[in-house]
Structures are given as C-alpha cells and as structure tokens.
C-alpha cells in the first residue's frame, strides 16, 4: 500500500499525476520519433536500392515465404489488440485482467519470433543469406543479394525490438499481477503499449516490401 500511495502522488516538479503522465508519454513519442529515423535510413536504403535494381528485387521477392509472412502480420496485428486491451484494463486498475492481456501479448510476440526463426532457417537452407551462405546464381545476383541483405538487417532489427518488447511486457505483467499499478498510476503500462504498437507499425511496412513484391 505504501508503494501505491507514493506512486500515485506526483513528484514536486509536476502539478499533478495527469501532467506527469502527459510528460512521460510525450517523452516516449520523442523516443519513437528517433526510432522512426533509426529504421527510416533502412527504408530509404531499400527504396533507393529497389529503384536501382528493380528487376533483381522482383526476382528476389519470389523467394520469401508469403504464407508465413502473412500469418506473422496477422499475429502481430492481433498482439496490438491484446496490448490495447491490457492498457485499457491497466488504466482502470484491473490488475489481473491487465496481467492476463499482457501475458497473451507476450505469447503472441514469441509466436511471431518462432515463425520468423523458422523462416530464417528455411532461407539458410536455400542459401539466401548474404555473406554467410549465399548460393543464388541466377540472373541479377548482386541485386538479389542486396535484397536479402536488407531483408535480414531490417527483419533482424525488427526482431531485436520485438525481443526487447517481450521482455519489457513480461516484467510489466509481473508488476501488474503484484498490484504495482492502479487507476491513478499506470504510466509504465501505457508507455510499454506505445512501444509495442510502434513495433507493429514497423512490421506493417516491412510486410509489403519483402513479402508482396512481384506476386502478380
């Protein structure tokens, strides 16, 4: 109770708890803006490479697994729903409901990583890993290699973010179950939610760029 009492009160430099949460959320959006640019240079690199190697990207795009990629997109979109429901439950102080939705979100995240890992394994077996095991010898091989270089860096960086997200969510679920959050204080849940939805937004763009090229 002591912990809840102190955490519900704002530090002296904030007028009230609402202003504190607004400041924290604003800080999170600033961080996410830097993340947009972090991923953004890779998206810019992809765009320029695709313009320069249009034919090769069409050839390379046929080697990604559109079924697994689509399933993973649905998994991640669903995890955004469960995360939103966790934030909502947390915002009104339903600690068990909040913890349960957080656990479900983390499970969906792990499922995504498992499917992605299986895909990378298949890519490895097919010899599509630039630098380590690249066996493609058809036309436009340098451009195809560039496509798969971007594919591994971008999905890899995304998976790293997802892994961090899963760990943070696991900690939040534990804290929520122990009653550390209330209707008056639940900012960490809100910020975790923003981070998770951002990861979803990144994947929303990775999906068409790597799985939907040259399907027609």
């Amino acid at each position: 109770m002591a912990a809840e009492g102190t955490s519900a009160m704002a530090a002296s430099h904030f007028a009230d708890a609402e202003q504190r949460e607004t400041a924290a959320t604003f800080g999170m959006w600033i961080f996410l803006a830097t993340e947009v640019l972090f991923f953004g240079v890779l998206f810019a690199g992809y765009t320029v490479s695709r313009v320069q190697h249009a034919e090769a990207f069409i050839l390379a795009g046929r080697h990604t697994d559109v079924l697994l990629g689509s399933i993973n997109t649905a998994v991640l979109l669903t995890s955004s729903l469960t995360m939103a429901l966790a934030v909502r439950a947390g915002s009104v102080g339903w600690r068990r409901s909040c913890a349960a939705w957080l656990v479900l979100t983390a499970v969906l995240g792990v499922a995504f990583l498992a499917i992605k890992g299986y895909e990378w394994h298949e890519d490895w077996l097919q010899g599509l890993v630039p630098g380590l095991r690249f066996a493609y010898s058809g036309p436009d091989a340098p451009g195809v290699e560039l496509f798969f270089f971007l594919y591994f860096v971008m999905t890899g960086l995304h998976a790293l973010h997802l892994t961090i997200g899963i760990l943070v969510i696991a900690v939040m679920a534990l804290l929520a179950a122990r009653g550390r959050f209330s209707a008056a204080y639940h900012t960490p849940i809100v910020l975790t939610g923003l981070y998770w939805h951002f990861i979803d937004v990144v994947w929303i763009f990775l999906y068409p760029l790597f799985y939907l090229v040259s399907r027609s």
Binding site: D16, V51, S70, R88, A89, A183, I204, F205, P208, S216
Partner: protein, 101 residues
C-alpha cells in the same frame, strides 16, 4: 486524503472495448486486401497500392491503439515529426538517384 487517492477509491469504470475489436477486424481486412491486391497485375501501381494500404493501417494503429485520436496537438506533432523527416530523407534521396544520367 488527497485528490488522487480519492479518485482511486471510486470504483473504476472501463471505457468500452468495441473500437479496439472493430479496429482489429478492419486491420485484418486491410491486410487481406493488401495481400490480394499484390496478385493483381497492376504493374507499377502494385507498390503504390501496397504502401498506400500500409500507410492507412499505420495511421489507424496510431490513431486508435496509440490514442492519438484523443491526444493533444503537441503529442500528435511529436508523433508526426519523425515521419515528416523520413519523408524528406526518402524524397530528396529519390530526387537525386532518379535524376542521375
């Protein structure tokens, strides 16, 4: 007892979840449209449709799940500024590479 603790003592009433479930269905439907459209022979417009639908999906996630639809203008500005400069980066890069002889 301060105001915050009083607020906590009142039984909490959760906002309705209808929009979240609806948004989930809309996002899944848009994904299917995205997938389906990529099999149509639209030429250069395939990528326009693919990225266009993705932009709509991202805006919906940010508006509803990330609460920007009810956020203050300063929050929306912070959310948009990264994307704005990314658009400048990609726009100027293409302006260079696509006009080289």
């Amino acid at each position: 007892m301060n105001e915050l603790q009083q607020a906590d003592a009142v039984p909490a009433k959760a906002p309705p979840t209808g929009r979240y479930w609806l948004m989930w269905l809309v996002l899944l439907a848009l994904q299917l449209v995205n997938l389906g459209s990529s099999y149509l022979p639209l030429g250069a417009f395939n990528v326009v449709v693919n990225v266009g639908i993705s932009i709509v999906k991202a805006l919906l996630v940010m508006a509803v799940f990330m609460h920007l639809s009810s956020a203050s203008p300063v929050m929306r500005l912070a959310a948009g500024v990264g994307f704005f400069f990314l658009a400048v980066l990609i726009g100027l890069s293409l302006g260079d590479y696509m006009t080289r002889p």
